[in-house]
């Protein structure tokens, strides 16, 4: 059986806008010629002539938010407790690996306008359209309009969001992991801030995330290439980097097809 992978992760890089200003990743590159001096600290007397082609090692120092790049949020990101306040919310290093390798299902919400808050009915209608009966443990990926404008300044304002009811619809049916190609699982903050200014209804603030207060679930953001996936028929692998006590961990998310 032939195995085929599709990369569902964005690259972590400095020159492509992927996060709001001030929240971008920072990578300091040390290249081979520069590092000879660093290596001479370990090997006193070392000169460039001692090194193959005068080169030392390449290395980098990276400053990243746990929410930069393609990452998985842990329930702790949403609130300090989950399961209706009954339990402490787990952090990313406590994510059970078994749930991170499971069948994927894609919801095509690309036609929904930016800032729209998807409902439970929207999820149900799309599942019916693609002809998939949701199973416990399915990894549900939401393809929004944001995916096609990744890398442009409008990205962080693009795509629909998933509301509280839509999120709970999935969680109540045993879905543990969800994902989106937008910057956030919720509608873009700029759209919600406008609605907040108009309505002053606190229930709309980060409602999809905060649904994790009721039922714990794990959530991936800034996925890539979702438009290349069929609605189902593949596995998702999404093991997060193990960061002690953190609210999220970066993940190289991939789809695996057995053709």
């Amino acid at each position: 059986m032939a195995r085929r992978f599709v990369d569902l992760s964005i690259a972590i890089e400095m020159d492509v806008p992927s996060d709001p200003p001030g929240m971008e990743p920072i990578i300091q590159y040390t290249r081979h010629k520069e590092s000879v001096a660093v290596m001479a600290g370990y090997f006193p007397g070392l000169t460039p002539e001692d090194m193959p082609d005068g080169e030392g090692w390449a290395s980098e120092r990276v400053t990243l938010s746990t929410h930069n790049g393609t990452h998985m949020d842990a329930p702790y990101h949403f609130h300090s407790t989950t399961d209706h306040g009954r339990t402490r919310a787990p952090s990313i290093d406590e994510a059970p690996l078994d749930m991170c390798f499971a069948p994927g299902v894609k919801l095509d919400f690309r036609s929904k306008p930016d800032g729209y808050v998807a409902t439970a009915e929207d999820v149900e209608a799309e599942l019916k359209r693609i002809g998939h009966e949701l199973k416990a443990g399915d990894i549900v990926l939401v393809n929004t309009r944001a995916g096609e404008v990744f890398g442009k300044p409008e990205f962080i304002h693009a795509g629909c969001g998933m509301g509280r009811e839509a999120t709970l619809y999935l969680a109540e049916r045993g879905v543990k992991i969800v994902g989106t190609d937008a910057w956030s699982w919720d509608a873009p903050f700029s759209h919600t801030a406008k609605r907040w200014a108009e309505t002053r209804d606190p229930r709309i603030i980060w409602e999809g995330h905060k649904a994790g207060r009721e039922i714990p679930y794990w959530q991936m953001e800034k996925l890539a290439n979702l438009s290349k996936l069929p609605p189902f028929g593949y596995d998702i692998l999404c093991f997060p980097v193990k960061i002690k006590g953190a609210s999220a961990g970066w993940s190289r998310v991939v789809a695996m097809f057995q053709d």
Partner: protein, 263 residues
């Protein structure tokens, strides 16, 4: 199928386990994490984004988040050929974001070298050869060979952690010549410990003693994985292993969540 985690976590508290003489180099080994907690810093952060007040947030809580300062070679991580030099096998060296996913999900094989290798010394090629000869599995092209060196008995915080057995140029090229593409170790580093290489260089002036295990990867393209964890939980062979690193643009390495898939 069972999934077995073979990853060493990124834990800022490791700083307390470093011996004093290593603290100056902590930035290459231990992450610094600024924690933004839901009940404290997260409240202000969230109110800033939404223009709301703390009392508008459910139960007065914001979000949890973190900012990390890491080196790309921290925790369980995958080295790209770029780490060893700008050229590899006569071609521009591949960076971590250039490696295809197929090359990182492969057959796994554990070579148990416990009791046959010594801390602070190079792993003799003869030891590798006899371990492979006695092994019930075999090295397939493109597979991952993971060395169980005995370092599991010397965790961070014990003196033996930094005095690990290391791979030389000869041993590295030998494993590559057998067809292995991913070379892993449960030790802190692939090479012999730096103080050992430093002493030999100071005594002999022999430049070929410097970082020779890694530099061998300029001549035979391999991906080196360091700081594997929990190899004792793996079978000797007959399983898949996945080392999907972060797609850090043009970087020489990346942390990965390394997972074995055992039937």
């Amino acid at each position: 199928m069972r999934l077995i985690d073979i990853t060493r976590p990124l834990d800022p508290r490791d700083i307390d386990k470093l011996p004093p003489e290593r603290r100056a180099n902590a930035a290459t080994m231990v992450p610094t994490i600024e924690y933004i907690r839901p009940k404290v810093e997260g409240v202000a952060a969230m109110c800033g984004h939404f223009g709301c007040k703390p009392e508008d947030l459910p139960l007065g809580e914001g979000w949890g988040a973190e900012r990390l300062h890491i080196n790309t070679h921290m925790g369980t991580h995958v080295d790209a050929p770029l780490h060893y030099g700008s050229m590899c096998e006569g071609k521009p060296a591949r960076t971590i974001s250039d490696i295809s996913l197929d090359e990182l999900y492969v057959d796994g094989l554990v070579l148990d070298l416990r009791g046959k290798v010594k801390g602070g010394e190079g792993i003799p090629t003869d030891v590798l050869k006899s371990a492979i000869a006695a092994h019930p599995g075999s090295i397939s092209k493109g597979c991952a060979v993971m060395l169980r060196t005995g370092q599991e008995d010397h965790p961070l915080g014990t003196p033996g952690f930094f005095n690990y057995p290391g791979m030389t140029r000869e041993g590295t090229l030998f494993l590559a010549s057998m067809g292995a593409k991913i070379l892993g170790t449960d030790a802190l580093g692939w090479d012999r410990p730096f103080p050992v290489m430093k002493r030999v260089f100071a005594e002999t002036g022999d430049r070929s003693q410097i970082w020779d295990g890694h530099f061998a990867g300029r001549d035979a393209e391999v991906f080196i994985i360091q700081q594997l964890h929990n190899l004792k939980s793996l079978p000797t062979h007959g399983f898949k292993v996945g080392f999907f690193p972060l797609s850090l643009a043009q970087c020489s390495a990346s942390p990965a969540r390394a997972v074995a898939f055992v039937n």
